[in-house]
Symmetry: C2
Subunit: 372 residues, 2 copies
C-alpha cells in the first residue's frame, strides 16, 4: 500500500473488525477512530491543544453551519479551515445534506438541489451537489462528503425515491470534485432500514469508485437491531481498501458493534453535548453530575480513568460547577467524555492488532449491559 | 528574611515600587502580582493547568459565594479549597464584606455583624467577624481577609462610621484567627477618598500587626486621581516588611500607577469578564471582537503577544466564535487577557529589580494614553 495522501493502509483484521491507517495531507488517521465534532469550526468548549492532548486525530466540521456563518468564502480567505480553527490535523466536513433536512426550513426539493431557509436568520439559500462540493473546497477539509438527500429510515417509498436522487447527486459531486490530490470525496450509502435499498445504494456508489464510503441515515430513530443489521448488510459490499464511516454514531455500545461489523470511523456530538448538560460517559453508563447524590462525593467520575478531569477533580466539584452554571463544568466534562471515546477507539485498535477483539468487545458490552 | 510561611522577602525597590516574594505554605508569590479571580472556586472558563501555563501564582476565591454555594462545610469536607478546585498554588479568599454590600439584600447591620438575604435564593444569613473568619478557615486559603464594612467612597459621614466599626471588627477577626501557621490574615484599610480617615484606618490596623495590609473600597466610583492620591497617602504608613494589596483593581494603567506608589498585589474580575463579552485587553487599549471590522482580519489580537490565543488564532476566528456564541471564544480571550496582566506584573518585577521601573511605567502609560 502506498503512504501517499488518501491511501488506506490495512494493518490487521480480527473477524470483521479492521485496524488500519488512512493517510491524508494533514497526517495519518489511525483506525478505528472516533472523530470529535466541531460544528461551527470549534469542538465546543475544547481548545485545539487540548484535543491534541486527548489524542484526537480527525475532527469534523459542518458545511451547512460554516456556509451560513461566517461563510465559506471568509474561511477560504483566512487560509482555509485548518488555519482558521487552529487545527493542523485531518479534518472532515459533511456535505450539509443532513443539516438542511434537520435544521433548516426546507422550501423546495427538486432533482437539481434544495432551497431552504437559514435556521439563523430565515434567509433563503440553495444547495446543489455542485455548490456543496464548491463550499467544501473553500473550507478545505481533507475528507469531504457527497451531498445526499436524507429520509426517515422507516419510510420505504421515500427512501426509494431519495436513494435514486442521492445516486444521481453522487455522480454530480464526483464530477465537481476537482482537487483530488488535496481532498478525498466519500460517497454516502442511504436506504433507511431496508436491506435491498442499502444494497442497491452501496453497489451504485462502489461503481463510482470513491476514496471512502459512509453509511448515512442511521442513529436517527431506527432500533439498534435494525442499525446493526444494516451495517452487516452494507460493509461486505464495500471495497476492503477504503475506509468505512458510520455517520453520527457516538454511543459506546454502538461504536463497538459498528467496529465488530467492519466500520472504521465514527463521529458524534454526543460526548460534548452530554458534557454541556452535566452528563459524564463512563464504561458503566452515564453519570448525571447535576444530581444531589454527588454533593459530598470526593471520588472522580471514574477512579480508573486517566483523563485530566478524573485525575484532578471530584464529583462534588463538578456538581458545584454545574449548579453554579460555571463554564469550567462543560470544559471538564467535554475533556472526559472525548477522552473516553478516543480511548475506546485506541483500545479497539490494539485489540484488533492483537487478535483479541471479540473478547474485548464482549467485556465492554457486558459492562454496559450490567449497568443498564 | 526568613523563608518560612508568610514572610515577605524584599528583593529590590525602585522609587516607591517594590519587588519581593511573599512565602506561603502553598509556595512563593512573586510580587508585584496580579491574581486572577475564581469567584465560585473556578477562574471562569480557564482550567487550573492553563492557569499554571499562564504563569499564575496567586488566585482569589470569594467567601460570600462559596459560603452560599456549595457551602464552606462541604469545601472543608472535600479537603479544602486547594483540593476542591484542583489548584496547588497560593489562594486568597476575601472576607465576604464587599459582596454582602454589593450583591445581597442587606436586612440589618449592627455592631455585631450583618444580616442579609442570599442573591441566589433569598434565604436569610448572618455574617459576623467571627463567622467570616470561621468560613475562611473552612475554605483553607493561604491568605484570608478581615470582615469589613464597605461604604460609598464619597460619603464622609458613612465612611467615618463604617471605619470605626471595621476597626472593631478587625480586632475581633484577629482574635478569631486561630491557625496562624497555615493562614495569613490581612487587614483592610478603609476610609473612602478622605486622607485623614485613611490615615486613621491605616494606623489603627498597623497597631494590630497583621501579616499583610489591603486597601479596600477603591475602584468603585471615585476618580482616578482620588484613587492614586489615597494610595500615596496610605502606603507610607504601612510596614515595609508586609505585602500591600490593592483590592479589585485590574485596569492596566491603575496597576502600573499602584505599583509606582508601592502596591504589591492586585486582583480583578475585569480580564475574565471582558473576555466573556468579547473584549480583548491590549497595551494599546481594548479590542471588541464583536465588531464587524474584524470579519476578514487574519491578524491575531496583538502580533507581539506570546499567549496561546495570539499564537494560533485570528481576529476573524475570534469574531466568528463570539457571533456563533461558542464557549471557545470566552476561553481564548480569558487566556489572552489573563496573560496580559500576568505578563505586566512580570515585566514590572524585572523593571524594578533592574532599576528601570520609571522608564518602563512611563512607556506603558504613554502607549495607553496615545490610544485613548
Amino acid at each position: 500500500m502506498s503512504s501517499l495522501p488518501f491511501s488506506y493502509q490495512p494493518e490487521a483484521t480480527d473477524g470483521a473488525a479492521r485496524a488500519g491507517i488512512f493517510h491524508t495531507p494533514h497526517g495519518p488517521i489511525p483506525m478505528p477512530i472516533f472523530a470529535p465534532v466541531g460544528t461551527q469550526a470549534t469542538v465546543k468548549a475544547v481548545t485545539p491543544r487540548d484535543l491534541t492532548d486527548l489524542g484526537a486525530s480527525l475532527i469534523l466540521a459542518n458545511t451547512y453551519h460554516l456556509y451560513l456563518r461566517p461563510g465559506d468564502d471568509i474561511v477560504r480567505e483566512m487560509g482555509g479551515l485548518h488555519h482558521f480553527m487552529g487545527w493542523d490535523g485531518p479534518i472532515l466536513t459533511d456535505s450539509g445534506g443532513f443539516q438542511v433536512w434537520s435544521l433548516s426550513a426546507i422550501n423546495k426539493i427538486d432533482d437539481d438541489g434544495v432551497t431552504f431557509r437559514s435556521h439563523i436568520d430565515g434567509s433563503l439559500h440553495r444547495l446543489t451537489p455542485e455548490r456543496a462540493i464548491g463550499i467544501q473546497q473553500n473550507l478545505g477539509a481533507d475528507i469531504i462528503m457527497c451531498f445526499d438527500e436524507c429520509a426517515s429510515p422507516l419510510d420505504r417509498d421515500y427512501n426509494q425515491k431519495a436513494l435514486e436522487r442521492t445516486h444521481r447527486w453522487a455522480e454530480r459531486c464526483r464530477e465537481a470534485w476537482s482537487n483530488r490530490d488535496r481532498q478525498a470525496l466519500f460517497g454516502i450509502v442511504q436506504g433507511g432500514i431496508f436491506d435491498d435499498l442499502r444494497q442497491q445504494s452501496a453497489r451504485g456508489l462502489v461503481d463510482l469508485d470513491f476514496p471512502g464510503y459512509a453509511i448515512g441515515g442511521l442513529s436517527v430513530g431506527e432500533s439498534k437491531p435494525d442499525m446493526y443489521r444494516i451495517i452487516e448488510t452494507v460493509t461486505p459490499l464495500l471495497p476492503t481498501d477504503r475506509p468505512r464511516y458510520l455517520m453520527g454514531v457516538g454511543a459506546i455500545d454502538d461504536i463497538i458493534q459498528g467496529v465488530s461489523r467492519g466500520i472504521d470511523m465514527f463521529d458524534c456530538v454526543l460526548p460534548t453535548r452530554l458534557a454541556r448538560h452535566g452528563a459524564a460517559m463512563t464504561w458503566q453508563g452515564r453519570l448525571n453530575l447535576n444530581n444531589a447524590v454527588h454533593t459530598r462525593d470526593n471520588r472522580p467520575i471514574d477512579a480508573g480513568c486517566e483523563c485530566y478531569t478524573c485525575q484532578h477533580f471530584s464529583r462534588a466539584y463538578l456538581r458545584h460547577l454545574f449548579k453554579s452554571k460555571e463554564i469550567l463544568g462543560a470544559i471538564l466534562l467535554s475533556l472526559h467524555n472525548l477522552f473516553v471515546l478516543i480511548r475506546l477507539a485506541t483500545e479497539m485498535r490494539s485489540a484488533i492488532i492483537e487478535h483479541r477483539f471479540a473478547d474485548y468487545a464482549a467485556e465492554r458490552l457486558a459492562q454496559i449491559e450490567t449497568n443498564q
